[in-house]
Symmetry: C2
Subunit: 308 residues, 2 copies
């Protein structure tokens, strides 16, 4: 990955993000899935744990923890917010994989949830995980000493990012034939809702846990908006250009040509330019808060570098 060695002592920003936040999150999640089963039917607990522990980049929880720490809240205290963001993301993947949606048999090399537990249980497991996100955050954040007003606002940000005007709305634009348009702006609209809204919500809800001003919140919000777009553009580019080894999966060129992506709408070169533009806009949004630089700024800058 060409993001290595951009002035952070040889380690890529994503690697540092991983060491500082993803590992903490993974350990917590692992423990949670083993222990938190009281009053939950066994097969349902198994089904949810199966998808929650099936790997993934954990980008949303890592960004949530990083934003919280920068706003004065130790990552350990922000874990319930990060968990909630990952619950909603995982739930959306379980439902995305269903036969009536993308009809995928495998995700990250493992059989999809409905292949293991059946469609009915997969539908309910996704539903439960979405609702669990809210009970988890609403119940555990106050126990971490986060003020009730801040909990309310942070969890509201997460709900808005995942609901009908956020991720859920984006899924409709992406999958519902009658909702689709042919203009190129539509690709931006889908990406900013389907992918961008939850990434932005993860960042902003983490920041919101701290004692910050609305102006500071806006910086994190804008960072999340542009980072989310950059992330989707890079994903679309890598789907076309990456080799199997780089991507960790078979590049699905047929699918990429079928589906509306930044590459199909803008062509490869213009898509790369857009990735750089959104990465830089994300970095730019945080620069007023960190004139000396910061890992989150490096993460944003390194994202577009992955496509070169």
């Amino acid at each position: 990955m060409s993001a290595e060695g951009n002035g952070t002592g040889g380690k890529s920003p994503l690697k540092i993000l991983d060491e500082q936040y993803v590992r903490l999150f993974e350990a917590h999640l692992e423990e949670f899935c083993k222990e938190e089963r009281s009053n939950i039917p066994e097969r349902l607990a198994q089904s949810m744990a199966y998808s929650l522990t099936a790997g993934g980049k954990r980008l949303r929880p890592a960004l949530c923890l990083a934003a919280a720490e920068r706003c004065g809240v130790a990552p350990e205290r922000a874990l319930p917010m990060a968990m909630a963001a990952e619950f909603i993301h995982t739930a959306s993947l379980i439902h995305d994989d269903l036969p009536c949606m993308d009809d995928d048999d495998f995700r990250r090399g493992k059989p999809t949830n409905h292949k293991v537990f059946g469609e009915a249980l997969a539908v309910i497991a996704g539903d439960c995980m979405m609702i669990w996100a809210f009970s988890h955050a609403l119940c555990r954040l106050p126990a971490q000493g986060i003020q009730p007003e801040r909990v309310l606002r942070a969890v509201t940000l997460l709900a808005e990012g995942s609901g009908p005007a956020g991720m859920g709305g984006g899924q409709v634009l992406d999958t519902d034939r009658e909702s689709q348009r042919d203009d190129r702006d539509f690709v931006f609209e889908i990406a900013s809702m389907k992918t961008g809204a939850l990434i932005r919500a993860a960042v902003a809800s983490g920041a919101m846990l701290g004692d910050i001003s609305d102006a500071t919140l806006q910086c994190y919000y804008d960072y999340g908006t542009h980072l989310g777009l950059a992330f989707q553009i890079v994903d679309d580019i890598l789907d076309v250009t990456a080799t199997k080894e780089e991507l960790g999966k078979t590049p699905n060129k047929d699918e990429a040509q079928d589906k509306r992506t930044f590459v199909s709408a803008y062509g490869l070169d213009e898509a790369k330019r857009l990735a750089v533009r959104e990465s830089e806009a994300a970095a730019h949004a945080l620069e007023p808060l960190f004139p000396q630089g910061d890992l989150l700024i490096d993460v944003a800058k390194s994202l577009a570098m992955r496509t070169f």
Copy 2:
């Protein structure tokens, strides 16, 4: 209906509940579905509005508003909590009707959501409605002057009642073959999770909006627990005994014999006895708060009467 004329001036308690709370709720919901479409893809808004306005008893929101009013919160101020309970209930019905679940083509005489909008949109509409429940309540209850701590606790009650240890867990017990047991207690377990948990949450979350003690909350919580069970038992009985006119639908005797119900597990007479027992327990839970009687107590008592 034999619940008429039980000392409330000729009107049945359910009719009074309807006049005092359901009409207010219906008017609010109707208005909301027309107006609240900003940033929501049109087809998604249509799909959600289709199921939200497709009728139904509105028992959960009515109980929520009634409990709130008895705890000092005017029904108008508690509407966001009642809306959230109904959103979650409606979302669960959309997913219940899917081909991979109950595979129903009609609900309340209208084509089910997936029959009109397709399965993919029905899955996402259900997801979005569940999440909308939370953003709606978290955002609008504070605007009604409800204290943030109370909002947090009330919405947590709703989430717990609908998630993996509540309604969602009950759906798994009800539909997942590998989760099922043969003992009669299992029917209680399913009903108390699948139906009871959300009814209890609707009552308790409404009460929680007021400035009440934990002891008072417990009364409403217990009321909701027993009322939810009574409601399911009565529903199972009416599915077998009611004529088409009484029920407003064709009694589905084959289904009732196929599925695990209170009637199939206990027989009709014992089921009626259990309905009376749970109705009385619900009434009993609220009696300390209302020594002179109350509509909610009458509602509970009248419920079992419907089976005679």
